[in-house]
Structures are given as C-alpha cells and as structure tokens.
C-alpha cells in the first residue's frame, strides 16, 4: 500500500504539474530550475526560539505551490512542523544528512545562549538534551549555506528585544562567535514573505549566492525603501495624512507607519497572494529591520 514518489506525483495530478515561477522569473527558468534541482539539495529546517510563523508563511507560497517546492525543488529531510517522524527517529535524520552530501541549513527562530542554551531544547539524544545552539554547532559547519528565515533567525527577533531575557541572537552573530565560516543569507521579516524565502532558494540553485546588502539580505527583495515607493507617497509630499484608521485618503505616517525605515518590496509584492499589504490595510512596523522591536517601537506613533 505504500506510495512511491512516482505514484505520489501522479496523485498530485494538477497540483504538481506545470511548475510556474512566473511571478519571479521568466517561464523558461522554471524548467531550468527543475533540471538544476534534479538532484534536489537536501534541506534541514531547524526551529529555534520562534513562533513557527515563518513556516506557516512558507506554506502561503503560490508560484510554486508548496507541494511543488517539496517535491520538485528541495529535498526537505527535517522540518519539525511537517515531517512524519518524532523523537530520536527524527533527530537521526539530522545525523544522517550531516554525514552525507552538501545540504542547506534553514533556521527559523533565534538561538538563545543564556543558561547554556537551555531556554530552547529541540530534542533529546542518548538521554541528553539537545539545544538549538548544540544543533547549529553540529550542522552549520558542514552546511553549504545557512538561510536565516525570518527576523528571529537573522537578528534575534522578538525574544532578543530588550531586556533580551534569554540572550537570544541570530545565526550570523552566533556563527561568528564560534568561528564558523559557512555563508549566511538573511531573509528577515516577521514573518518572512514566502516569495523571499523561495526566491532566495531558487536564486542559490540557479545562480549561486545572491547580492546581499549591509545586513546580509538579498537586494533583490530588500533593496528599496518602502516609503520611497509607497503608493501613498504623493499624500506625504502634499502633507495629507490619515486622521485615524477609518480614514484611507492620506499617508499613514501619523498613524505610526514605519515605511520610511523599512527596506523590502511588500509595496509591490503584497501579502497572501496579493490580497492586501501592511501599509494599504494598516501601517508598517519595519519588521525586516534588525532590532525593529526596540528601534521602531512604539508602533502606533511617530512623534
């Protein structure tokens, strides 16, 4: 009764057929990507101190759909929210992958280093606690690259906000502290947009390392300031501001909008299949910026 990969693809029918990355790439590239991914790179997705929101966001990918990502683009060996296995059977997958060919390490959530890392225990092996810090030390040196998915993995995120009770930090700082040279790509956002995550993976597979800005973010997605491209920018220049959230005919600056401090492309990409985006429906909190929980708060005031 077991299903082979082939059977599974057949079952997927319309779902898996017709890979389309058209939102980000020209169609011919989709085929190239599939070819490149013929030996789909193994991916270990670890979760540190976080909320699983970036994993949920990943599921929101539309082109390609998440089933296509899992079956045609990457070989997701370990992901706590999705994988079938639990316990030592699950942790064994990490050991096995680390021993094998090159893999990509995706991290979601921060790495708390207070109390010897015990504020985030991800499992138990041979009767001993494994902390996220332990797991990163074991896997990151052997990974081809580390993808820091979301602001927590990139810069520490909400748990690193003052007074940072657990001494949480992002992957790049943690690797530097331990002298690990594996390249890190930061894909911040609270959560990260699915296109930013999938797009970065696709870029790495097709063209290698993307161009990064000073905060380690791909300029492809984080290269432009929201405020400079905001559709409500004209209102700002004319000093027309929304009085409150009922008022949509104006710039959101006086409601606390942090668009001037945020660099991402949500203004053209939209969220959740484009049905809405932060400034259109409310205000921006600059969730793609390092330490935004401290530097950008309070979120509903710009005074």
């Amino acid at each position: 009764m077991s299903l082979s990969r082939r059977d599974f693809l057949k079952l997927c029918g319309g779902t898996a057929a017709g890979l389309s990355l058209s939102q980000m790439f020209i169609p011919e590239l989709a085929e190239a990507l599939e070819k490149k991914a013929a030996t789909r790179p193994p991916v270990l997705w670890l979760q540190g101190a976080g909320c699983t929101g970036c994993s949920v966001s990943l599921l929101n990918t539309t082109h390609p759909k998440v089933a296509e990502v899992l079956l045609k683009i990457i070989d997701l060996r370990f992901h706590p929210t999705i994988m079938a296995a639990s316990g030592e059977m699950a942790l064994g997958v990490i050991d096995e992958t680390v021993k094998g060919e090159k893999f990509v390490l995706a991290l979601e959530g921060a790495i708390p280093v207070g109390a010897n890392g015990r504020f985030c225990v991800i499992g138990e092996k041979d009767g001993k606690e494994v902390t996220i810090a332990d797991a990163i030390l074991e896997t990151a040196p052997k990974a081809a690259a580390v993808l820091a998915m979301g602001t927590c993995a990139a810069y520490g995120g909400v748990q690193a906000a003052k007074p940072n009770p657990t001494q949480a930090m992002g992957a790049q700082d943690f690797l530097k502290k331990h002298g690990i040279k594996t390249p890190v790509i930061n894909i911040p956002g609270c959560p990260a947009h699915p296109d930013w995550m999938i797009g970065t993976i696709a870029h790495v597979l097709l063209y290698g390392m993307p161009e990064l800005d000073g905060y380690g973010r791909p300029t492809l997605f984080y290269g432009k300031v929201v405020h400079e491209h905001c559709p409500y920018r004209g209102f700002f220049d004319d000093d027309v501001y929304c009085k409150d959230f009922n008022d949509k005919e104006g710039c959101r600056y006086q409601l606390g909008c942090k668009g001037p401090d945020a660099s991402c492309d949500a203004w053209k990409r939209g969220w959740n299949g484009g049905v809405n985006w932060c400034v259109r429906g409310a205000t921006c909190i600059a969730c793609v910026e390092p330490n935004f929980w401290d530097t950008e708060a309070p979120f509903y005031s710009n005074e």
């Binding site: 929101n60 079956l71 059977m89 997958v93 015990r118 609270c190 959560p191 959230f245 929980w293």
Partner: protein
C-alpha cells in the same frame, strides 16, 4: 494470555523528544506497563520571556508583540490583546469593527482546523508517500488501517488542504491585512474599512472552503473514525472543560457564537476568571510566584536548577482543577447542532449535537470530530457575518492611552482558550500576563501533584509496541499543543 504476559513485564520508559507536527518544542515521557501507558509527563522546551519583554512598552504595541507568541494562532493572541486593551482604555469598537474582528479571527480558525487535521494529525492515520519529509515514520502491523482507496483520498486531501489552508489565510488577510501576524487588529477596533471587493473576495474564498469541508474534510474525519474505532476509547483526559466564549454576536458582548462556560466534575457552571490560578511547583520558576491569579501574576527568568521542575510551562487551574481547552471543550460547553455528516455517522435521521456523542466524545476521535464540526459551524457563521458588514462604515474608535488602568480579556484560539491581563502605569505596561491555550493543555503537575490534561489523557493509551508508540502521539496531537 498475551495480555497477562505483557502485564508481568518490567515497565518501559519511552521518551519522545521532539514531538513533531505541533507548534513549538515539546517532550513527552511515558511509562508503559502491560502494554498501556501508566504515567506521563509533558515538558515544554522553550522559554522566550514575553511577559518580561512587554514591561515598560507602549500598551498599544501589545497586540503586535503578543501575536509572536504563536505564528499558527497569532490572530487569537492579537484578538485577546486588543480586547484586553479595549477593556483597559475603556473603548468598544463600532458594529462594523466588531464584525471585522470576528471575520479576522474566524478566518484563522477555519484554515487552522484544516492545517491541524491534514498537516499535523493525518499522517498518523493516512500513510504518506515514501519520500522525505513523510519518511521515516512509525511503522508496523495495524498502524495504518485505511483501505488503499481511502488512503489515496487522504493523501489527495492532504495536498488539496495545502491550497485550502492558503486560501483561508488569504481570506483572513483581506481584513487582517496579512498573515501570519495580522496588522488589522488595533485597540478600538480594526483597520480595514470594508469595501465591496473585500466582501466579495472573502465570501467567494469562503464558499470554496465550505465545499472542501463538506465534501472532503468532514467525510475524511468520519472515515478515520470508522476505521480506527479504538481511538474513541483512549485519550480520555480529565473531562473538565473550559471555554472563554468566542465571536461576540452583539455590541454589548452579551451573546457569543460559542458561549463561555465551564464543565467540571460532570456539571455545567458559569465562567468566572477570578477562579484561575497558576501553579509552578513543577515548573522552572521559584515557588514564591505559585498560586496567583494572572491579574497579580509574575513571570521571572526561569530557575533551571529547581529539582522538582520539569517544564517551562506553568500549571493553570480553574477552581483548583486542570481543565482541557480547545474545540472539544468549546463544542461540549456550547453543544451546538452538528453537520449532516455527524447525523449520518451516528445513524440519526434528525439533528444531532456534540453531547449526543456521549462518553465517546472524551477521546482522540472526539477531539478531531469536534474540531471539524466547529470549523463547519464557523464557516456557516462567517457567511452570515460577511453580509452584515456595511461598506464604508467606520471600524475604529480612537482612544487615548490611559495614565493608569487595568484590563482583562479572553477569547478562543483554534486550539483553546487564551487570556490576557494588563496593568498600565504612567501610560506604559507595568504588568502583562498571558495564559495561552497550550499552557492549559500541556501543563505539568500542579502544586498538589495533579497531572495536566494531556498527561491525564495519556494514561491508559495502548502501546503494544514500544518502538512504535503511535497512539501516544495520536493522543498528544488530538490536543494540537
């Protein structure tokens, strides 16, 4: 005779860490004797310190910060937070604002029930394909019992559910602005003023999802129930239920779609938040903060050297009793009419209600059925609410941050009751306390040593093969910790 031989064997300790396909980091330790679980402990492995971080911040920011407690149910925390702030600021949203908030929360519930059943639970009953991340998995005789046709239907459903979940999330984001982590929830109301295109976009997505519930999700849940009837017998739990109530139907919050209430020791009681206390004897916090109502609650940085402790989670109790929260608790307390699929399953011609399941409701399958049925009820309600919106009418009332105030509010996340408590001093947060749903269900023992709801539900779970403790994870996942 095999039973007697097993009973004579030495008890076996099984540690499952991590328990995957849940949100967060959970370790479960069970002792198995005579082929059944005789003792269980649940330990959470993550502490982030939200209540410490919230101190001294602008109270309005609480609705953003607390959503990050859980990326699967952020709008539930967001909703609890803005209701709590409304309470402290002394403001109530407009009618349109109340309905928009309901549509945001119900949108998240509707997709999260799908995610829970298909992407977290189903692989314990439906055998997935032989590729990662669906392998490795527990395997062995009698674990996967669906006939091939139904199993294929389950796998197809898993894939279809990925699309439906995404569409549900889009529906939420139409009014919630984006998901996860909605920007559309603020003290005083909501931020998206309904327009015709928003209403139409929400409604048509909802109709697509309604079809999925009716033709795929509900039938699959009842098919699983048919082929795994033993799962009506284990995972019983404490049989105490707590529901804070959710989806206010009028502007005075006097009526809810799912009413608040408590069911303890076989008796229905009204809900009173003063009856809640949090115990920490078995949690990594100093005992001096034990037994407090969250209004007075404290959360220091954990003391990891405490010998009696085994979890970061506190043990909340209602009137001193552990209580299960979640869809089963809500549906048992409110006891609404269920779908036609429930009538068919129970072999009844007319309407059936949750309590018609009787003792069978207190089980793994009882929880899965309650959840799917609640989703169906929510879809029907959302269809009504969306048509009650007035395009262009205000959704927000401005309110100033008070110098000093206290606030409390509670609502329901898909996985259970969520309560927020705030104290404001000098226009800043002086104290903020949260009891998340998982805190109730996954709680460790309390100060008198009574195990938490999941710990109790694990007792008696059959584990014929300690190498494949699939029933243990079935029990745990039925709670969606």
């Amino acid at each position: 005779m095999a039973g007697r031989r097993q009973a004579l064997k030495k008890p076996v300790k099984i540690v499952i860490d991590p328990v995957n396909r849940i949100e967060g980091h959970l370790k479960v330790e069970v002792e198995v004797s005579g082929g059944k679980v005789v003792d269980a402990r649940c330990a959470t492995g993550l502490f982030r310190g939200f209540e410490i971080i919230l101190k001294g911040r602008d109270p309005r920011d609480a609705s953003q910060i607390t959503q990050r407690i859980c990326g699967v149910c952020p709008t539930s925390h967001g909703t609890a937070s803005v209701l709590c702030l409304d309470n402290a600021f002394g403001v109530k949203p407009t009618t349109n604002g109340r309905i928009v908030r309901n549509l945001i929360l119900v949108g998240d519930h509707i997709w999260d029930h799908i995610l829970h059943f298909y992407h977290l639970v189903a692989l314990d009953y439906v055998k997935g394909p032989d590729v990662p991340p669906f392998v490795p998995r527990y395997d062995g005789k009698g674990i996967y019992k669906l006939p091939k046709e139904l199993n294929d239907f389950g796998v197809k459903g898993y894939l279809k559910a990925l699309d439906m979940r995404r569409i549900g999330h889009e529906m939420m984001a139409i009014f919630g602005v984006r998901g996860p982590h909605a920007h559309g929830l603020v003290v005083g109301g909501a931020t998206v003023v309904p327009t015709t295109d928003a209403i139409v976009g929400y409604l048509w997505r909802l109709k697509e999802i309604e079809k999925f519930y009716d033709e795929i999700y509900l039938p699959t849940v009842y098919a699983v129930a048919k082929y795994y009837p033993e799962a009506f017998k284990f995972g019983v739990g404490c049989k105490n239920f707590l529901s804070y109530g959710v989806y206010p139907l009028d502007d005075n919050y006097s009526e809810y779609l799912l009413k608040p209430g408590v069911y303890i020791d076989g008796e229905d009681r009204p809900f009173n938040p003063d009856q809640i206390t949090e115990h920490v004897r078995y949690s990594w916090y100093n005992d001096s903060i034990s037994g407090l109502n969250p209004k007075e609650g404290k959360t220091p940085v954990p003391n990891l050297n405490k010998p009696s402790a085994y979890s970061f989670t506190k043990a909340p109790r209602y009137d001193g009793k552990p209580c299960e929260v979640g869809p089963l608790a809500r549906m048992w307390v409110a006891n609404p009419v269920l779908s036609r699929h429930a009538s068919e399953f129970l072999g009844k011609k007319g309407e059936v209600r949750m309590r018609d399941f009787g003792e069978r409701a207190f089980s793994v399958l009882g929880r899965l059925i309650a959840r799917a049925e609640e989703g169906w009820l929510e879809v029907q309600a959302a269809k009504k609410w969306i048509m009650e919106l007035k395009p262009g009418a205000p959704v927000y009332k401005k309110a100033e941050v008070p110098e000093r105030a206290e606030g409390f509010a509670c609502t329901e996340a898909p996985r259970g009751s969520v309560g927020h408590w705030i104290r404001i001093e000098n226009k800043k947060i002086a104290n903020y306390q949260v009891i998340a749903p998982t805190t109730w269900n996954v709680s460790p023992r309390d100060d008198v040593g009574t195990p938490g709801p999941i710990e109790q539900a694990l007792i008696g779970t059959p584990v014929p093969d300690p190498k494949n403790p699939v029933n243990v994870v079935r029990v745990i996942r039925s709670f969606d910790p």
